[in-house]
């Protein structure tokens, strides 16, 4: 029996999502875990985010998701809609970070300020302006700190 066009579309879509899953699922799970700090919840959210991709693929006129950055942006948008217990910035002390990121050499090499700026922007999607107000500093300085954090992590890579 011939497959209907819709079935072929769904199969193609499933394959393209599976391809994204094979390439980025580990990275995305690691990212979600850093946001929610709960392995089980992170796995649930991983399923929800990848499932939501099927609807995203259906929407006409929407730009497709092919790269890690596009997937990350999509995941951040979805995570904002899901209940996430956001830890306050006061929790970013060194001892806490050591416990939460036992093997994270990237974050360990950052200063407290660099780590705070990076984690707030990367994991919690804070804008530079909002973060600058919270840290009582200028936006230029916050951007510089973020750049420094990137440079240190890049040099460690």
């Amino acid at each position: 029996m011939l497959e209907s066009t819709s079935q072929v579309t769904i199969d193609h879509q499933t394959h393209s999502i599976h391809y994204l899953y094979d390439r980025h699922a580990g990275k995305l799970l690691g990212f979600i875990f850093e946001v929610v700090k709960d392995r089980k919840l992170a796995e649930d959210y991983l399923v929800k985010i990848f499932s939501a991709l099927s609807l995203q693929h259906n929407q006409q006129g929407e730009e497709g998701i092919h790269t890690w950055c596009q997937l990350l942006k999509f995941a951040k948008t979805k995570l904002q809609q899901l209940p996430v217990e956001h830890r306050g910035m006061e929790a970013y002390d060194r001892s806490a970070m050591t416990v939460m990121h036992p093997s994270n050499t990237y974050l360990d090499r950052l200063t407290e300020m660099q780590r705070m700026v990076f984690c707030e922007v990367y994991h919690h999607g804070k804008t530079i302006s909002a973060l600058s107000i919270a840290l009582n500093t200028t936006e230029d300085l916050t951007r510089k700190t973020l750049k420094e954090a990137f440079l240190i992590m890049r040099s460690n890579g």
Partner: protein, 166 residues
Amino acid sequence: MVKINEYLESGALESYVLGSASKAEIEELLSLKSKHPQVEEALAILEADLECIAEHMAITPPPNTWLKIEASMNELVERPRMEYLIGDEPVESSRPKSRSGKSEQFIEVEGESGHMRIHKIWRWIFAAVFVLGKIFLAFAIYYYLENKHTQEEIQQLKIELRSMRQ
């Protein structure tokens, strides 16, 4: 050139790649990106760096995760279809128009089965029609035989009358 180098050093690209740039910052970056290839190149490097950082923080998902995603996707795809059947046209619909060209707003009711379902009262109506049919048939046979017998008697009487006259 000095200005673009200052821009590259400002941390604006990092802010953009991490999705924390404001609308005005995004517009400025896209404008500069179209004019200066260095910006595009720096962005590509940053995206690769970001992927590298994410790779370093990666956690391998449990083996059954993809099956859960697939089941969840099927559910999400089927749900709009069901809503579609009851008349609410879904926003997300990848289904093409039917071959006949008819609007998919209507439900196709022709089933593959050769059977049909009717109300139970029709059982008694069919039984009554059957019994009445039998009764009418019995009466018809009775009157036919009766008539035939009467005709034979008449013929017999006629023959007797003729023989008496002679």
